[in-house]
């Protein structure tokens, strides 16, 4: 199968335990290419080669099961099996290697009907909206854009960002009535996102930090990710 030009999402799976991917996520990711990263945690005291020698076939079998669940679509599904002491390091490396546009962070949840998309201004906006469009075009999920402006700043600036994003998304082929937005004028975007997340099924965030490691689960994102229970997709800032 040739690359179809759609986005590619990295799905990390811990293959040391039986952890079937969530059916909601499976369904949501149908329209995009998927790279399944099966990672097997290696304790500090163990030689990775040792663990590989003992558990490779078992890990490969688990990964193959996960891949099969994704492989029902027309899109490219690739898989990588890694024995690692540092999960983040592997995620960064593989995301880079396979040119992934985004990384999925697993969470709890059933069917995904409501997506929350916090925006930080123009940063990475194009990529985020394109990905959201691809994911929801064929479904009937709704999308909520979120943006926060400082209390004494001009709210029209924030409205402009949100409206622009909504316009872009409808250009991508998503009906206007499925797109909402929320503008916050409190200076606590993090708390707002966390409370909004409870009303949604998945959150799509843009990377914030410039350094490769921080970009995926950087200092700003990780508190949010720690506090929300729903799955998250982090859109990488590749350029």
């Amino acid at each position: 199968m040739a690359l179809t030009g759609e986005s590619t999402i990295l799905v990390p799976v811990d293959v040391s335990t039986v952890e079937p991917p969530d059916s909601g996520v499976l369904e949501l990711l149908q329209p995009v290419n998927v790279v399944v990263l099966g990672w097997y945690p290696v304790p500090k005291q163990t030689a990775p080669a040792h663990l590989k020698a003992d558990h490779e076939s078992e890990a490969a079998a688990r990964l193959a099961t996960v891949v099969d669940q994704f492989a029902a679509t027309d899109h490219e599904v690739e898989s990588v099996l890694v024995f690692t002491k540092d999960r983040r390091d592997s995620i960064d490396r593989v995301a880079d290697q396979y040119d992934c546009d985004a990384v999925l962070m697993p969470g709890e949840g059933g069917p995904i009907d409501r997506l929350l998309v916090p925006l930080r201004g123009d940063v990475n906006l194009e990529r985020i909206v394109t990905l959201v469009g691809e994911l929801v075009r064929a479904s009937d999920a709704s999308v909520t854009f979120f943006h926060a402006v400082e209390p004494d700043a001009d709210p029209s600036q924030g409205e402009f960002v949100l409206r622009g994003a909504a316009d872009r998304l409808s250009e991508e082929g998503v009906e206007r009535d499925r797109i909402e937005w929320t503008l916050s004028e409190r200076d606590e975007p993090r708390a707002d996102i966390v409370s909004l997340a409870s009303e949604h099924d998945l959150v799509i965030l843009g990377e914030t930090e410039p350094s490769l490691r921080e970009r995926i689960i950087g200092a700003v994102l990780s508190p949010i990710l720690d506090e929300i229970a729903i799955p998250a997709i982090i859109v990488r800032d590749i350029d």
Binding site: V42, P43, K44, Q45, T46, A47, L51, E76, F83
Partner: protein, 742 residues
């Protein structure tokens, strides 16, 4: 979905981690426990013992760095010795390192007990020291068993603190050195100094731990040598200073009686607070050193299991924790027994240190030998990015072995006997267990064979069991025709195509076995033909690249390839794997299509092409298989511009080709066909069993082209066809070559 799944290994140990692992182990327990014993045996000159030890370690670190960057795989010294010298020495070093690490670990834990118990004089020493040591050991074994993800940051902080305390001790202590204490400097003389080196050498085994985890080090080519050499140098300087300070502050006689020497010295100039700091540092040091040793011991064990030198039952990783729990428990139990021996043996600390030193000195000697073996045999897998500089080789390995042996000879008889016992254990293990399990024979014989002789060498790539016998027969015939110039030799190669060759990748066993069988069969064929044949099993992502590389490495004179005879049109002429070889091989090329079982009478087309004479020689060589006389055939058109008799012209062409090929008239028959029709040529040719045709160099396209007549022959001949070309000048590009010959 793409490709097959292959588990990747991550490299997670950076430079700083490698330094804390190696340097941390070295600045560990030794620095706190050894000064007493060292002072007792060599007086203030014990600092010289540490310098000598550091120098021996530096030599070993140089050799190990080269080997570790050449093969960054888990196992350290054991792995390199096993690869170079085979299972016998591998078994000795494997057991030596494993027991050495256990002895070292027991040494650290008893020292740990001494430092914790020492400041409390109201407690009864001995039993309590052992007990505290055992508790500490259980802690470490537990951590390793459960695979607790210790924060490396915490580890860095701990080792940083410990190093800082030692530095304060040295820097402040220097001002309290009483030069009177440093007289006499060397009460035991040179032999005492070297004997002390034997005891304190255990301090330097930290850098070996870097090699043991080489498979996990990021950018191994840079980080391994840097961290190994730097840690050895820094630690040697530090140890020498610690000795100067310790023996300078307290007379060495009383220092020698102390179980907690550093804290006894520190109390003089740092007071009670200093002692607390020293005890804390000593405890951290003992724990971290012992932890790295047990971690390394389990890896040595794993590496032995991987090479079938150790039972896999010992090498299972825990289903839940993922740690090699059985190897860890076995190591822990044996170490515990060694600690317990401290109850009855008074000088246990020196004894443990010295036996560990012995084991490592033996291992390092064999590592130096392995380095020489690797350099001489130069196997494909060995491509070190750090090489010992030319002006230091072979001085480093030779000096390394000599000094290791010198230090060993100065050790106490008991230690030498114990050490030899461990060596004997390795030997016995080889006899009863390894011999039947492991097949790896090492590179020793290749290294002894030395440089490849410059004979006439024909490389024969084989892939198909059905045709390989005939290919080898033809190759043998051409090689033997050159017996008078040089010893003929065949090299059978098989390329196992893999997508992305990496050292961590496992090629499927089945395919490896197939390759093995093919090459094995080639050896049998060669034995029947009475020709010397070497086999080379290659892996590569491109078959043509692998073959071309081999041709250069082997300095081949000819490559003889089988070809199905089908012309591929898809941008290729002979096929994707053959084209590049035909185009770029620096030596002579023979492309052989086998239709007929016998070689019979060969015929060579004598024409104006640049390779005609090579085709003629080949026909003569092939003819020897069936003892026939080959024919040189020239085809001449009837219509001429009045240029004489076509028959005579043909004979002249044949004579010219034969002359260029260096043949005399008894070696061939001539035949001239005068006809304008290509079909007639084919008719003439079809009377022979084997046809040799020179490759045409005339080509307008940037690709191999071999002329219309040759092409038709290769397609229509019923016998065997050999398409031949001469050697290229390697400096000439295909482009300029064509232009020159056009």
């Amino acid at each position: 979905m793409t490709g097959e799944l292959e588990g990747q290994l991550e490299r997670n140990i950076g430079f700083l981690e490698a330094m804390t692992l190696g340097g941390g182990t070295m600045i560990g327990a030794g620095i706190f426990i050894l000064p007493g014993i060292a002072a007792e045996n060599a007086g203030p000159a014990s600092s010289v013992s540490f310098l000598i030890g550091g120098f021996v370690a530096l030599l070993a670190a140089l050799s190990l760095s080269e080997l570790a960057t050449g093969m960054p795989i888990a196992g350290g010294s054991y792995h390199y010795v096993n690869r170079a010298l085979g299972g016998f020495f591998g078994s000795i070093v494997g057991w030596g390192m494993w027991t050495g690490l256990m002895f070292a670990s027991a040494f650290y834990m008893i020292g740990f007990g001494q430092y914790l118990v020492g400041p409390m004089p109201f407690l009864d020493g001995r039993a309590l020291v052992v007990l505290v040591g055992l508790v500490g050991l259980s802690l470490i074994v537990g951590v390793n068993y459960y695979g607790t993800e210790e924060s490396s940051q915490l580890q860095n902080v701990m080792i940083g603190t410990e190093t800082a305390i030692v530095l304060v001790y040295v820097l402040v202590g220097l001002f309290f050195v009483d030069t009177a204490n440093l007289e006499p400097f060397a009460p035991t003389g040179p032999s005492g100094i070297i004997a002390t080196t034997g005891i304190v050498f255990v301090s330097f085994l930290g850098f070996e731990i870097i090699a043991t985890v080489a498979g996990e080090v990021k950018e191994p080519s840079r980080n391994i040598p840097k961290s190994m050499l730097l840690s050895v140098v820094l630690v040697t300087i530090l140890y020498a200073l610690v000795m100067i300070v310790s023996t300078g502050v307290i007379p060495y006689e009383s220092l020698g009686d102390s179980l907690v020497p550093v804290s006894d010295v520190a109390v003089v100039f740092l007071g009670a607070g200093g002692v607390v700091a020293i005890v804390a540092a000593a405890a951290i040091a003992a724990i971290s050193s012992s932890n790295s040793s047990i971690l390394a011991a389990a890896r040595v064990n794993f590496a032995m299991g991987r090479d079938d030198l150790m039972s896999d039952r010992l090498n299972v990783t825990h289903p839940r924790f993922g740690t090699p729990h059985r190897a860890i428990v076995a190591t822990g139990v044996l170490t515990g027994l060694l600690v317990t021996v401290g109850l009855v043996v008074e000088t246990i600390v020196a004894l443990l240190a010295e036996v560990a030193s012995f084991s490592f000195l033996v291992s390092y000697s064999l590592v130096h030998v392995s380095l020489v073996v690797f350099r001489r045999a130069d196997p494909d897998v060995y491509d070190p990015s750090f090489r010992i500089p030319d002006f230091l080789y072979p001085a480093v390995p030779i000096l390394g072995v000599l000094l290791s042996v010198l230090v060993i000879t100065q050790m106490a008889t008991t230690i030498i006997l114990l050490g030899l016992g461990i060596v004997g254990l390795g030997m016995a293990w080889y006899v009863v267990y390894v011999r039947d399990h492991a097949l790896d024979t090492g590179l020793l014989s290749e290294a002894l064979a030395g440089e490849i002789e410059d004979g006439y060498r024909v490389v024969v790539p084989i892939a198909n069991p059905a045709t390989q016998t005939d290919l080898l027969r033809l190759a043998a015939a051409t090689a033997q025709a050159h017996t008078d110039e040089a010893t003929p030799e065949l090299v059978a190669v098989n390329v196992l195509q893999v997508d992305d060759p990496s050292p961590g990748q496992n090629v499927e066993a089945e395919r490896l076995e197939h390759q093995h069988d093919l090459l094995e069969a080639a050896l049998t064929v060669a034995a029947d033909l009475d020709v010397s044949l070497r086999t080379r099993a290659l892996t590569g992502s491109h078959v043509d690249e692998a073959i071309l590389e081999t041709l250069v490495e082997e300095d081949a004179d000819q490559v003889l390839l089988g070809w199905s005879g089908e012309l591929v049109r898809d941008g290729y002429v002979f096929g994707p794997n053959l084209d590049a070889v035909v185009e770029r091989a620096p030596c002579e090329v023979s492309l052989v299509t086998l239709h007929d079982e016998t070689v019979g009478t060969p015929v060579a087309l004598a024409g104006p092409g640049p390779h005609s004479q090579v085709a003629a020689s080949r026909a003569v060589e092939f003819a020897t298989v069936d003892d026939s006389v080959p024919t040189l055939l020239s085809v001449q058109p009837t219509t001429t511009d009045g240029d004489g008799d076509p028959k005579a012209r043909g004979a002249a062409v044949i004579a010219d080709v034969a002359d260029r090929a260096g043949l005399d008239s008894s070696q061939y028959r001539s035949a001239v066909v005068v006809d304008d029709v290509e079909g007639a040529i084919l008719d003439a040719v079809s009377q022979y069993d084997t046809v040799c045709v020179g490759l045409s160099e005339r080509s307008d396209a940037e690709r191999v082209n071999f002329g219309t007549i040759a092409e038709r022959i290769s397609q229509e001949a019923t016998g065997n066809v050999a398409i031949v070309r001469g050697a290229y000048d390697a400096t000439e590009s295909p482009q300029s070559r064509r232009e020159n010959r056009r």
